[in-house]
């Protein structure tokens, strides 16, 4: 049950708080009107009108509160609008500054291009290029009396010069430091190539013998995947010819959907040495019989090459102090394959050569020639390498390439030549900093017919440029 005076007092207090003067006046006038116009007995009859006024006052109070809240929200919105205007002005200023910078850069570009105009087309008749490779290595083994050693540092420049579109000179030197402190210089090849048409090139001069694939394509240090060469595929006294001086034709052509290559040569040929025929190019012939040979290969599928090589020469025995030397036929036949797909590089070669019986000195100091019986050499290797990028995404691991190779040289016939027989396992790891910059380490185990086996460690850094 409501008590009217209390209700009235409370309403007045609220009115003051709300600072609503019109409402207070209205209540006062209402009380005065009721007091003057109505007798006391009729007071009860006026209460509904007061209650009505009370409701109206409450409604007015609510409106006043809403108006005050709306005023506050309006002020907040005005403040936020002012902040947005300020940020927009700043953005316009930054964009204008950036546009100014871009205009300045464009102006600089135009000025630089005017000072450094585009180079003329490469239409010069003679074009020159220097390329090649450098190599440094270290090796150690457990053979009695041997010492670990940093090997011969080598610099192998290749000079290239073309004349027009059809003539090319290629000159490859090897400059190395020897174990006695001297500098050794040799000429690997110096050849003039005439590019007759798109399938034929005629070459004259000193060239890498087109027999097999290691000596003519793989022996360069940054290409060879191990620090060492396979047994028998060496520079001096190897079983696979290294170079010759003469004339050569070579090229490649399509055969249906396949591809084929060929190379054939005529040259001075090998000479006799203390370990058998020396298969390097000599700048003169000690007999009139020229060596000839070559290689053909076919690609039955794009990543597989199968090659067949052959060579024939007539070798004159090494002159002794006295006595008569003879000449003998030398013949070679070989096969090779290479499968290079994705991260795999698998290849191998086999060389079989034969020297018929010959009367020859073993060194120029021999008093008399030695009767050397017919001798054959069987020389081969297989090698597999896999780049770990095919398995691992890690940028460091992906540059590692494990390599394994087995090579063997067997000699039947003259006993002195059999001293070169060897069976060798090679296991290595390459780290490719770049396509032509590699660091290699390798372990090798070599077995000989007479001597104890030798374990060796090799390290090499090679760079092709």
């Amino acid at each position: 049950m409501r008590i009217w005076p209390q209700q009235t007092d409370r309403s007045h207090s609220d009115i003051r708080d709300a600072r609503s003067a019109p409402a207070v006046k209205a209540i006062g006038l209402a009380f005065a009107a009721f007091g003057l116009s109505q007798p006391l007995p009729a007071l009860a009859q006026t209460q509904p009108s007061i209650a009505d006024l009370e409701r109206r006052v409450e409604a007015l109070e609510a409106q006043v509160r809403q108006a005050a809240q709306a005023e506050q929200e309006l002020q907040a919105l005005k403040a936020e609008l002012a902040e947005v205007k300020g940020r927009t002005a700043k953005a316009e200023s930054d964009a204008s500054q950036a546009q100014s910078t871009a205009n300045q850069a464009q102006s600089d570009v135009t000025r630089v291009a005017a000072v450094n105009p585009a180079p003329p087309d490469d239409n010069s008749l003679i074009r020159f290029q220097l390329t090649g490779s450098v190599v440094a290595d270290f090796s150690a083994n457990d053979a009695p009396g041997s010492h670990s050693s940093f090997g011969e540092a080598k610099f192998l420049p290749i000079f290239l010069a073309s004349y027009g579109d059809r003539l090319l000179f290629e000159g490859h030197m090897e400059v190395s430091s020897t174990s006695d402190g001297e500098t050794d210089t040799s000429l690997e090849y110096a050849q003039l190539d005439f590019l007759v048409n798109k399938w034929l090139t005629v070459t004259a001069g000193k060239f890498l013998t087109p027999v097999g694939q290691f000596q003519q394509s793989l022996h360069t240090p940054w290409i060879n995947k191990l620090p060492t060469r396979p047994v028998g595929f060496v520079e001096d006294g190897g079983d696979e010819p290294l170079s010759d001086i003469g004339v050569m034709v070579r090229g490649g052509f399509p055969v249906g959907s396949m591809k084929a290559t060929y190379a054939a040569f005529v040259g001075n040929g090998p000479r006799m040495g203390d370990a058998g025929p020396v298969l390097e190019g000599f700048g003169g012939d000690d007999n009139s019989d020229k060596a000839f040979g070559g290689r053909v290969s076919i690609f039955p599928i794009p990543h597989l090459e199968l090659g067949l090589s052959g060579m024939h020469a007539r070798i004159k025995g090494l002159e002794a102090v006295s006595g008569t030397v003879s000449q003998a036929d030398y013949a070679l036949i070989g096969g090779d394959f290479a499968f290079t797909k994705g991260y795999w590089d698998i290849r191998g070669e086999y060389i079989h050569s034969r020297l018929d019986a010959i009367a020859s000195a073993l060194t120029p100091d021999d008093l008399l020639p030695t009767d050397i019986p017919r001798t054959t050499w069987n020389n081969w290797y297989v090698q597999a390498a896999y780049r770990l990028a095919g398995i691992f995404d890690n940028p460091i691991v992906a540059k590692i390439e494990p390599v394994v190779r087995y090579s063997q040289l067997r000699v039947n016939g003259f006993s002195d030549f059999q001293e070169n027989e060897e069976k060798r396992w090679s296991v290595g790891l390459d780290y490719w900093f770049a396509p032509s910059l590699v660091a290699k380490i390798a372990y090798e185990n070599s077995n000989f017919p007479e001597d104890p086996s030798v374990n060796s460690f090799h390290a090499q850094v090679a760079f092709g440029f």
Binding site: D94, A98, K198
Partner: protein, 97 residues
Amino acid sequence: MKISPLPLAALVLAFSLGFSQLAPAQSADRKAEPDPRQFARGAKAWADNCGRCHNIRDPKEYSDRSWNVIVKHMRVRANISGDTADDIAAFLKASNN
């Protein structure tokens, strides 16, 4: 949606600076676009032939002038036909800038 002006300004500035670095090279080495079919043949021949003996070399290792001579050198070394050598040279020279 509010867009902060600072990243926008930074982007414009970065583009401007990048353009100022690249534009001279593009302007100086501008060359004719290769035949797309020859480019495709050259890319395949480059991968198939060069990788037969050694790692395939990055086209950016040499300039156009150098590639003109080196491809001729390798044509002789690797018994590559003239057509294929031309395709490889076109690919390398179109990919070295």
